[in-house]
């Protein structure tokens, strides 16, 4: 110092701190152990598996069509996408193409799932940062989407809507118009919340530069979804390997360069906006016709055929009792879930139950990078970064 005295570093011990597995900021059952020097994270490590529900083993014990409810409970923030994706994987396996109307309904429900997934992700992340208001705003729209689901198939959250070969029910009268109305309102609400935080001084101070996932990290950790896109990796399964007619719709894949918490939040806002656009296009161009494929080896017959015809009754009995029986083989099918590439790798032995189902959960890869991005940061940065990566324990641990 200028007066001649020297500054000695204050000796400090490293403090080991557990965050989780039952900590409010971990949104479920993650556990993070950090070693702190003051408030700076020197070392960190993650422990997962607290919600390992044995999904993959459970799938081996049930018929293909009965995996649908299990699949829905993987990413419970936007449940319907997982079951849509499972049915898509089975259809690819069986080489069955669902009718165009069913594909459009899947696009609509899946994109709604993406919107409510991002809405709650942004909302809870902001709660962690101390901004509770946004959560109420966002959750109101989640409730409205729940209403739409309820009208469509009778359930709020775990809808169990798709079937292998199509979807279980057609949209009721007036449902599509109602969708458009709610999507319009939602677009407006998303814009409002965005204006609340986009240039908000406090929010930016907390999030810019916090938890940076660089492009190199994203590639070496196979990160997909909004986290990768915020780091400049413009990979989206909907564009790269289109399914359900996504190539017919015009939409952007929003990207950013910084890869920090702020960019991830803004990318999610853009994605919600793009999803609204896709839903509107899908509704505007929805074709008529059936919603289930006409194949008695895959689809249950209509109820009046079951009650009034012999063939219908037999087909129904065979499908329920003996299941769908795909050929021997193995197949990997990927779709774009809420957090990135959701892959199902199915191996069949020719019987009605899958021999092996392996999930490629987007969260698993996304979370594995987490200890690296919080090194040298403060605990509060780690909490902000954790919320923006959006780890869903159901999908992470399966």
């Amino acid at each position: 110092m200028s007066d001649g005295t020297t500054v000695r570093p204050i000796p400090s011990d490293l403090l080991t701190l557990n965050i989780g597995p039952a900590h409010p900021a971990t949104h479920g059952t993650l556990r993070l152990q950090v070693q702190l020097d003051g408030e700076t994270i020197v070392n960190s490590g993650c422990e997962i598996g607290y919600l390992h529900r044995g999904f993959e083993k459970q799938c081996e014990t049930v018929y293909y069509q009965f995996v649908i409810p299990y699949a829905e409970r993987l990413n419970y923030m936007g449940p319907v996408h997982n079951s849509n994706a499972w049915c898509h994987a089975c259809e690819q396996f069986l080489a069955v193409e669902p009718p165009p109307r069913a594909q459009a309904l899947r696009v609509i429900t899946s994109e709604m799932g993406r919107i409510i997934d991002h809405a709650v992700c942004i909302g809870t992340n902001l709660v962690d940062l101390g901004a509770l208001t946004n959560f109420w705003y966002m959750y109101n729209y989640r409730e409205k989407v729940y209403d739409l689901y309820e009208e469509l198939c009778g359930a709020r959250m775990m809808v169990n809507y798709p079937r292998i070969g199509g979807v279980s029910l057609d949209a009721p009268d007036g449902w599509l118009e109602k969708c458009v109305k709610i999507i319009d309102e939602m677009q407006e609400a998303v814009g409002e919340v965005r204006t609340l935080i986009e240039r908000n001084r406090i929010f930016m101070d907390r999030t810019v530069g916090a938890g940076v996932v660089t492009r190199e990290l994203a590639l070496s950790h196979s990160i997909t979804g909004p986290v990768a896109r915020a780091a400049g990796v413009a990979y989206d399964v909907r564009k790269a390997h289109p399914y359900w007619g996504y190539d017919k719709y015009t939409f952007e894949v929003p990207t950013a360069e910084g890869g920090d918490t702020y960019d991830r939040t803004i990318v999610r806002f853009h994605e919600m906006y793009e999803s609204c656009k896709i839903i509107k296009q899908a509704i505007a161009s929805i074709p008529g016709g059936p919603v289930m494929v006409d194949d008695h080896l895959v689809a249950l017959p209509e109820k009046d055929k079951v009650y009034n015809t012999m063939e219908g009754l037999i087909n129904h009995f065979k499908l329920i009792m003996h299941g769908i029986q795909p050929p021997r083989g193995e197949l990997y099918s990927a779709t774009e879930g809420g957090n990135g590439e959701l892959g199902y790798y199915i191996i069949s032995d020719g019987g009605p139950k899958p021999w092996r189902v392996r999930i490629r959960p987007p969260c698993f890869a996304n979370y594995s990078v987490f200890p690296k991005i919080i090194q040298g940061k403060m605990v509060s940065d780690a909490i902000a970064a954790l919320g923006s990566i959006n780890i869903i324990a159901g999908e992470l641990d399966r």
Binding site: Q58, Y332, F364
Partner: protein
């Protein structure tokens, strides 16, 4: 490049080292011995036409009791799902792992994401990965005995964790 061409190219390069090839619904895979796995994966990653530089997933399979399958000379397979970021194609490489000494070389130094995924395969199938820095259980708790996704593990055989939570939380996890 379609997957069949990739398969032909890998076969042409590695010849008899490719133990089996596989095609279903346009998706192709090759099976190699664990000793050749790293060479195959590295070559495919560095080849300009194939360039499978993304490792999307690592998973295990247990073929114990797979019907009509007597000529398969191994019990487990470790499956690597690859994708090329530049070309956009996918490919699958499988390592054939025998029952007696299930060991596969780790690829965590090539793809950082393999670290956790290999731990999961070890936890659920009991396939070891040589050269892995921290081969611990990841899904099941540390007192768990056996490997849950093996076909000979009964699905509802539950194992209680008897450590009180205070001790549990003092355990060191791996530092990244």
């Amino acid at each position: 490049m379609i997957e069949r061409d990739i398969m032909a190219k890998v076969q042409a390069r590695f010849g008899a080292k490719v133990l089996a090839t596989y095609e279903f619904r346009g998706q192709c895979a090759v099976t190699v011995a664990p000793a050749d796995l790293r060479a195959v994966l590295c070559w495919m990653r560095d080849d300009a036409e194939i360039a499978t530089d993304w490792l999307m997933d690592v998973g295990g399979v247990d073929y114990l009791g797979y019907p009509d399958d007597d000529d398969r000379g191994w019990r487990y397979e470790v499956v690597y799902q690859l994708r090329s970021a530049s070309h956009g194609h996918r490919f699958r490489v499988k390592a054939a792992v025998g029952e007696a000494d299930p060991v596969v070389p780790s690829v965590w130094d090539l793809w950082a994401v393999a670290n956790w995924m290999e731990r999961e395969v070890w936890d659920l199938f009991g396939v070891r990965f040589s050269g892995h820095p921290n081969l611990r259980r990841i899904m099941c708790h540390d007192q768990f005995e056996g490997h849950a996704l093996r076909k000979d593990y009964p699905i509802n055989k539950r194992q209680k964790l008897s450590i009180p939570a205070e001790n549990l939380l003092c355990e060191k996890v791996e530092w990244a």
